[in-house]
């Protein structure tokens, strides 16, 4: 069972039924309905795009492309299925396309000391450093692995939903999440000790 993704509080109470109704209204040209859908999925769309692209500006451009592309394709959406995975598949594809088009920035290698587990990040600066190291570690992972772990551990999607988003078997999703976690947990090892 999937943990519900965490949208903004203003739109958190939207149920799947409401979501289908919102889609229908958006298809009919209701700007407010599309606005609610964008509000609900902006966060996850941006994070998934950033997991793929790394650069936050590129990621926002890709997330925007994905959301607008979804608006154009809304009539193709099957309301019997969950909206989130359908939308995120489009966003992930938009991010992947953008990454292919641009010259890929080489990720800086991870600091071995940090990879082995650095000091516990109590301060804001240390947390920021941890975030930077996590982003670098993510950048070293294969793209599919990055998206899988973000969708599973950050956004709370089920393996089956992630399989639909990525167009791969559910077992492969489990494997991707496992390998991504193993890599990323090294960074968090010391921090998790209490």
């Amino acid at each position: 069972m999937a943990v519900d993704p965490q949208p903004p509080a203003s739109v958190a109470r939207i149920t799947p039924q409401d979501e289908a109704a919102l889609v229908a209204r958006a298809v009919a040209g209701d700007r407010a309905a599309f606005g609610l859908l964008v509000e609900r999925y902006a966060g996850v769309a941006r994070r998934v795009a950033r997991a793929v692209l790394g650069d936050p500006d590129d990621a926002d451009d890709a997330a925007q492309d994905g959301l607008l592309s979804a608006l154009v394709k809304l009539e193709q959406y099957d309301p019997r299925r969950p909206f989130g995975p359908w939308l995120l598949r489009i966003v992930a594809n938009a991010a992947t396309d953008r990454r292919r088009r641009r010259k890929v920035r080489q990720a800086e290698p991870l600091d071995p000391a940090l990879a082995a587990g650095g000091p516990r990040p109590d301060t804001v600066a240390e947390r920021r450093e941890l975030s930077e190291q996590l982003r670098r570690a993510l950048a070293e992972l294969p793209e599919r692995r990055r998206i899988a772990v973000v969708l599973f551990d950050v956004e709370g999607y089920a393996h089956a939903e992630i399989a639909h988003i990525l167009g791969i078997p559910e077992g492969t999703v489990r494997s991707e999440v496992f390998h991504a976690r193993r890599r990323l947990r090294v960074l968090l090892g010391d921090w998790k000790e209490q």
């Binding site: 903004p8 941006r46 996590l134 551990d153």
Partner: protein, 113 residues
């Protein structure tokens, strides 16, 4: 106490998830939403203006097609109802005579023999 999740844990890892969320969260979500909606409005306006242009072109196209059809119809009708051309040799031979032969001329030709 050491936090040691199982490698094949079916549940999301809350600690890793929170750290990743913090690492990936770009912030200023309201500005992003406003930007997307503005872009969607712009796209709609562009689509609407194209539709208007195409509608105008369609109107002109229909008017031109009507004029051409009327002109063609007039020409075809005129050709169909116009005077017949010169008959061919075969038609002339097959066609019945338009007036009866004059008897004097026929008799004269016989007598001359």
């Amino acid at each position: 106490m050491t936090y040691e999740p199982m490698p094949f844990d079916h549940r999301p890892d809350a600690v890793l998830g929170a750290a990743l969320r913090q690492a990936l969260d770009p912030g200023d979500e309201a500005a992003f939403v406003a930007r997307v909606l503005a872009r969607a409005d712009q796209a709609r306006a562009t689509a609407a203006s194209w539709a208007a242009v195409l509608a105008r072109w369609a109107g002109a196209g229909i008017a031109a097609a009507i004029v051409i059809a009327l002109g063609a119809g007039y020409l075809v009708g005129r050709i169909a109802s116009g005077p017949a051309g010169r008959p061919s040799v075969t038609e002339a031979l097959i066609a019945p005579p338009t007036q009866a032969p004059v008897v004097d001329v026929v008799l004269a030709s016989v007598l001359e023999r």
